[in-house]
Amino acid sequence: MLGRTLREVSAALKQGQITPTELCQKCLSLIKKTKFLNAYITVSEEVALKQAEESEKRYKKGRSLGDLDGIPIAVKDNFSTSGIETTCASNMLKGYVPPYNATVVQKLLDQGAVLMGKTNLDEFAMGSGSTDGAFGPVKNPWSYSKQYREKRKQKPHGEKEDSDWLITGGSSGGSAAAVAAFTCFAALGSDTGGSTRNPAAHCGVVGFKPSYGLVSRHGLIPLVNSMDVPGILTRCVDDAAIVLGMLAGHDPKDSTTIQDPVKPFTLPTLTDVSKLCIGIPKEYLAPELSGEVRSFWSKAANLFESEGAKVIEVSLPHTSYSIVCYHVLCTSEVASNMARFDGLEYVLGDKEEEPLRTVSQNVNIGQKCHRCDINVSTEAMYAATRREGFNDVVRGRILAGNFFLLKENYENYFIKAQKVRRLIANDFVKVFNSGVDVLLTPTTLRGAAPYLEFIKEDNRTRSAEDDIFTQAVNMAGLPAVSVPVALSNLGLPIGLQFIGRAFCDQQLLKIAKWFEKQVQFPVIQLQELMDDGSSISEIEKLASVSLKH
């Protein structure tokens, strides 16, 4: 049952093949078994069981709320969840329990979804490996797959298996791992420079980044406000579309969301691609691109061409400036957004020695963030709090950002970067205006790297390298989706990315769905994770699961 897609399990719930509580318990037990993946920071077991129980009551009364009712989901730990600790994988926010739900979380709960827990990430979503969080790195479920194990056995140093696990990519690595390991049917990630698509590609799941402004950011603890978008991770494109249908639309609490109402939709099945024009941006043929990924990319292009689509080479000439431009804009906003974590606000309790605290304790908001024990002066306290609370990556970005925002540097860095951002966005506009429907690109340079390999370079280098195909999309606010295509020679998933026109998210998903159907990406085989044989056989049966509507 756990191996099914969201749509399939939703049908099973409706048909009474399984109850929400049974489904929830199965997921909880798998979460426990896969604890070593470190996909979850918090497992909200009690809340989940209660939600499942309520869902079950609704099903019994025949009053299901819809496709998401009773469906186990997971949420990246940078979305505010009322009553559930939200840490951003940072010491700064350890113990912070938000008093409100992010709009996207609320919408999912309103649809009856069951929240299994909060997933791991790089601290404040700054990273591309899910290796730089205060709670340790996330392990890629594919490290333990039959497909990968079999390939690795052929290698000489096969005995030290456990030290050789793979990263998930990031920063939404926890969400990607949670979906890939069957512990939930959909997960929310966030995507600022590729943070949803990158781990999706490495974990063999679908990672969708909606158009900027289509989905509310209210309650998403920001990295870069002007680029952040809640992302959706699922096991197939159809599922991503279902979740998008529930999340999209105006939010009065987020002034950057579109005004026009968006109705839930069912993704139509595309049968004919002959009228489509697929653009292949030549700048994306990076020298670092692995031969394997390159070959999958060209096979995909050929697939479209062979089905009658027009496939053309296009140019996005400013692509190469994207990463450095992103560095300036991202760090600047980071410096600003992180300013609030000063260790001051809302320290409750009766600590008489506190140098600063609120007048009254009427506001039951709780301590917002970590505070150090120093009380020499307010400034000393700020400094120590921030040194203790943030990791090197975050502090480095804050420092860089403040440098770029200094009066004497603002024109030369921030303003220039904004101009370059406009050029990058215009590149896309020109290409789409020339008649291209979607762009087809790689998502990552290669398959997931082993952890020990990955940490040989620092976070900044890795981020710059790994965001190369995904980051420009955020500059332009476009929708993009990473779809798993095939396994590499090492038995690891490879994803390809489709980029669509702004607010043509459905059209993009429609094409991605067609593509997904053609490539028939293999299902992960996680024998070693499952104790009892039944789960395995269930997973293996997956291909034969059919929908009875």
Partner: protein, 557 residues
Amino acid sequence: MAAPMLRWWCLGRRWVLACIDGGSRHGRGAAIGFTSSRKRGQTSVAQQPLITSQKSRKGEHEWAAVVGLEIHAQISSNSKLFSGSRVHFAAPPNSLVSFFDASLPGTLPVLNRRCVEAAVMTGLALNCRINKKSLFDRKHYFYADLPAGYQITQQRLPIAVNGSLAYSVCVGKKPSRVITKTVRIKQIQLEQDSGKSLHDELRSQTLIDLNRAGVGLLEVVLEPDMSCGEEAATAVRELQLILQALGTSRANMAEGQLRVDANVSVHHPGEPLGVRTEVKNLNSAKFLAKAIDSEIERQIHELENGREILNETRSFDYKLGCTMPMRDKEGKQDYRFMPEPNLPPLLLYDTESLPPGADPQQVINIDWIRERLPELPSETRERLIQQYGILPEHSFALLNEVGLLEFFQNVIKETRAEPKKVTSWVLNIFLGFLKQQNLAVNESPVTPSALAELLNLLDRKAISSTAAKQVFEELWRSEGKTPSQIVSEKQLELMQDQEALERACHTVMEGHPQVVMDVKRGNPRAINKLIGLVRKATLSRADPTAIKEILERKLSP
């Protein structure tokens, strides 16, 4: 910067060293409000030449002072600029704090329409150009009462620019002349207020109240077109009246709804402007003029003694009567401005640019707001002069006290008395009583109707003006009684019976032959004594004019 200097230079405004004393004396003179100094016609313009000749031959150079103002007016609105928290003065600490105000991570600003409309109204009233597109920026600094670590403001492209504020000063004693001056308005920007830090010295801790955090502010930047404390104070007073007339701010300085920072510098006329200081937190009308004048004085004194003026922030110590450097603002701040990414550009429309079919709830039409602007103080004063024929300075006085104009108009509505009579009663007697007991107009025990009735009695000579004052005092003391009731209870009505009055006069004359003799001998004061005696005999109910008439007739040879 040269232009404004030239302007006031042409107007003949100069600061001379010795003038400063005059300036600060003004401050003291204007302790109750700016009304008093105006009424007395004491302006620095009038005093300057006098003081110049009087004092200090020390520096042959004349000094000119340049004053610019940054005024923060709290917008009068139900909720805050970017959140739904209520706005209320003196609520329990931290009782009006939303998640956004406390800057909980993940919260986003949502612009309050009412605050935008208030900014547009204020901009129009101050003759500004309203920018159809304006932007929000973040201004960063660490402070305990700024929970986000930045303030959202409008640094690059504010909502209104290039306006002007006309204010008037009355010059000279009877007859006084009203001189109108203009100060240019650089810009009006929307921004967030901060919370409040309360320092508890005893326990050496700081307490934070976030009720004020995020309340909408209008920052109004006045160009350095003023040259002394009184001009600045008068301009602020006029702005205060405008904001109150518009209803865009309650602009009560005591409640912190209007806060003024002044940029002050001095230089020799014809030379470049001097280094300026910023005088912060001029939170009462009382000390505004005084603080500026004392800062001007200090700067001149420093320069005269060969010292330099530092570009620094100072605060006014009202106990010492001078400005002091602010320690916690030392060191140059770099605010690291950056565009606020969570707010799209603020777009405004006029009737011409309004997109067809636009939802009126979603758009703001500048023309629509312009058509609905209320009468502004300058227009009201002009109307009062035209309509009631009152003196210009009286029109100022009527507007200067909250609620006084309304009181005046309500009295006028119900009385047959001459407007000039009403003005005199309202401004002298009524206002005098209020001031004496430190009451606001709406706290007055005397209603407009009661005063109107009293003035009617006076107008039809039912009572003497002395009796009228007695009735007024009685009204003030004992609420609930009408003037007529008081008049009849105290038997204050004038004797209308001519014969009885004649008899009374006769009796007094008979009873005081010595005084009668004095009159006949030509002692001019003797008749007053007789009048007094008759009044006493009639229990002050007789009209002194009528008594005098009878006595003179009877005494004439």
